[in-house]
């Protein structure tokens, strides 16, 4: 190869290699969100949440806190977390209502319904699945699982195709009308990486929500897991949720 050929090839090679490398970097995407603080090691954590169904009183404060903390649109069509009320009737029928979509809390207590034998509240949120179907279907890799087990959406990359919303069995995702991208619970990732609790956990007056690290040995969540009979939602879909429900009724889907 003479000098001229070499130079000609080099002119082609370097920009091409740089472009390819940039593309590869792009393709890899944001493995970790840019905002994690210095000294935080994601590989040392595996976050989850415990829900003590018996403790939830349906006050809806978690939902309000979440909307404020995460700038979720106020309209009753977009929720990162919400509360469902179950009523089991004497004849075995179940009625369910989402109390978080109510415009205002009822001013008076509802008259007691004698046919209702049991009633309870179930907080719902993204299950931060270990096998997330939403991550599997995203065509551009905009939604991804962090090393500490949280499923996030990169709003800079999301194209708004809504496939992830279809793929989520729990209805945990919505298209944020402000950003036109998919949105969902992040376990308040900006807070937990700073050592704080998610907003919903922080405000819960009855400690119905237990946030924790399944890799931590003396963690509250690990203890919660040990002492309670635990269920997850839709286990047959093999999504391996990390939101663990204690004493969950079989009626809840």
């Amino acid at each position: 190869m003479n000098k001229r050929d070499f130079l000609k090839d080099a002119i082609l090679f370097f920009p091409a290699a740089a472009t390819l490398q940039a593309l590869a970097q792009q393709a890899k995407g944001a493995a970790e969100p840019a905002s994690t603080p210095d000294g935080y090691d994601a590989t040392k954590h595996w976050y989850g949440m415990g829900i003590d169904v018996d403790k939830c009183i349906g006050c809806n404060r978690c939902v309000e806190a979440c909307k404020v903390e995460n700038d979720v649109p106020e309209e009753p069509f977009f929720f990162r977390t919400w509360i469902e009320r179950y009523q089991i009737h004497a004849n075995g029928e179940t009625t369910v209502e989402c109390i978080s979509t109510r415009a205002a809390p009822p001013e008076q207590a509802e008259p007691e319904d004698p046919t209702v034998v049991r009633t309870f509240f179930v907080p719902k949120l993204c299950n931060q699945c270990a096998h997330p179907p939403c991550v599997q279907v995203c065509p551009v890799g905009a939604t991804f699982q962090t090393q500490d087990g949280v499923v996030l959406v990169d709003a800079e990359r999301c194209i708004g195709c809504r496939y992830c919303i279809q793929a989520c069995p729990y209805g945990a995702r919505y298209l944020n009308p402000k950003t036109r991208t998919a949105d969902k619970c992040t376990f308040c990732y900006h807070r937990i990486t700073e050592g704080l609790l998610p907003a919903c956990v922080e405000v819960c007056p009855t400690e119905a929500r237990i946030f924790g690290d399944l890799k931590g040995r003396a963690d509250r969540l690990v203890r919660f897991h040990r002492v309670n009979p635990i269920s997850v939602l839709k286990p047959d879909l093999n999504t391996e949720p990390k939101v663990l429900y204690a004493k969950l009724d079989g009626e809840v889907r």
């Binding site: 593309l23 009753p76 469902e84 991550v135 551009v140 496939y163 069995p169 991208t181 879909l237």
Partner: protein, 406 residues
């Protein structure tokens, strides 16, 4: 109040009022609306029209020769529009290129861009070019001025009309068709997989989905070519080749029977297995999809044309009546398959994944995701086709006009 667009708020409030039972609160919004109904409908027509065309080249069905070019151009016209509903539907249309730049290998949707490009650039355009090359070279020679340039460019400035070159055209076009058949299967089977692989949604999640999509694609493609063929003859006041039409009718009949059998199997299987979702799916069909599924898709769009096509084959009708019956059944089938796409795409979003309630979909009349856009997208292939017919006349070779080779 956080500001969400007024029209969206109005639509969602209206849809919320129509909810029956309990749904998850995020489920009020219909994520995939009318444009995503149009998308599989259009790709289906592409795949079906191409498969009809390939019958001529690969299986030597000589009777269908007169519509060979028509079918190819129909496939191309619809193919050029197929990506548009997807593009328009995106929350960030300008980021669509990311699917090509940084595709996620586990995503069923990410590969669609490549399948689409492969089919358009690797199959359709190449086959059409080989089919038309000889004619383009001749037209470039005969025309003057601007058109001479256009035809030269379309023929990619080739001039060789030697017998060897023409023989190569034939061989190449046959070769492309042979690869084209599995590619057409891939194109639309793949669209079915996008829906069929969603395990969260039992209305979609079925292994049969890609095959059902494929067979219904073949039905809609053949019906579309038949419709255009009859329509053209009416517009131009030309005589139809009845042998060709009867043969297309036969293929159509076979395709409907297979499609019907597959869809019936799907429903029987669901009912018999009677899984957890069967209760809500039964309610979905009875309260939300009765008209579009039972009346339009099944009775009007499948059984009636099936009956007509069986009648045409068993009773000796005269040509005029046959033509009318074919025309009617092709229209009914096109309506039926559109309905089928609607029932899959919209139907799958009208029941809650909690299996406790039903949602509603209120179609917007204007705007991006609206009836108007859908109609425009469905009309666009016909406009493209009109231009294509001017540029690449489908009849020259078929009319046996002697081609002078200098």
């Amino acid at each position: 109040m956080s500001a969400i667009p007024e029209s969206l708020h109005e639509q969602l409030s209206h849809q919320l009022e129509q909810v029956i039972g309990f749904i998850y609160p995020n489920e009020v919004e219909t994520q995939w609306a009318i444009l995503i109904v149009v998308y599989p409908y259009i790709t289906g027509i592409v795949a079906g029209a191409f498969i009809l065309a390939s019958l001529v080249k690969v299986f030597n069905v000589v009777e269908v020769q007169p519509i060979y070019r028509l079918a190819l151009l129909t496939a191309l016209a619809f193919m050029l529009v197929a990506g548009m509903p997807l593009q328009l539907h995106l929350g960030h249309p300008l980021r669509a290129y990311e699917i090509f730049m940084t595709p996620q290998p586990t995503s069923a949707m990410a590969m669609f861009g490549f399948v689409y490009l492969w089919y358009l650039l690797g199959i359709l355009l190449i086959e059409i070019w080989f089919e038309y090359r000889q004619q383009l070279v001749l037209m470039a020679r005969q025309s003057r001025g601007l058109m001479k340039g256009v035809y030269s460019a379309l023929s990619l400035f080739s001039r060789d009309l030697s017998p060897e070159a023409l023989a190569f055209d034939k061989k190449a076009s046959k070769f492309v068709t042979i690869i084209g058949i599995p590619s057409a299967f891939l194109l639309h089977g793949y669209v079915g997989f996008i829906f069929g692989s969603v395990k969260a949604n039992p209305w979609w999640g079925s292994v049969l989905m890609p095959i059902v999509f494929l067979m219904s694609a073949i039905v809609s493609g053949i019906a579309m070519v038949m419709f255009i063929y009859i329509l053209l003859s009416l517009l131009r006041n030309e005589k139809l080749d009845m042998r060709c039409l009867d043969k297309i009718g036969l293929f159509l009949l076979v395709a409907i029977i297979v499609d019907f059998a597959l869809e019936a199997l799907d429903y029987i299987h669901r009912l018999y297995q009677s899984e957890e979702s069967i209760g809500i799916l039964t309610e979905l069909v009875s309260y939300r999809l009765f008209t579009s599924l039972v009346v339009v898709q099944l009775l009007l769009g499948m059984l009636l044309p099936l009956l007509i096509l069986v009648l045409v084959r068993s009773v000796r009708f005269n040509e005029e009546l046959r033509k009318l019956l074919y025309f009617t059944s092709s229209l009914l089938l096109l309506l039926g398959i559109f309905s089928m796409r609607w029932n899959v795409v919209i139907g799958g979003q009208l029941y809650s994944k909690s299996f406790r309630g039903l949602m509603a979909y209120k179609m917007e009349l204007t705007g991006i995701e609206s009836l108007m856009t859908a109609l425009l997208l469905l009309a666009l292939p016909f406009i493209i086709l009109t231009v294509l017919f001017r540029l690449l006349p489908p009849r020259w070779m078929d009319n046996q006009v002697p081609v002078a080779v200098p």
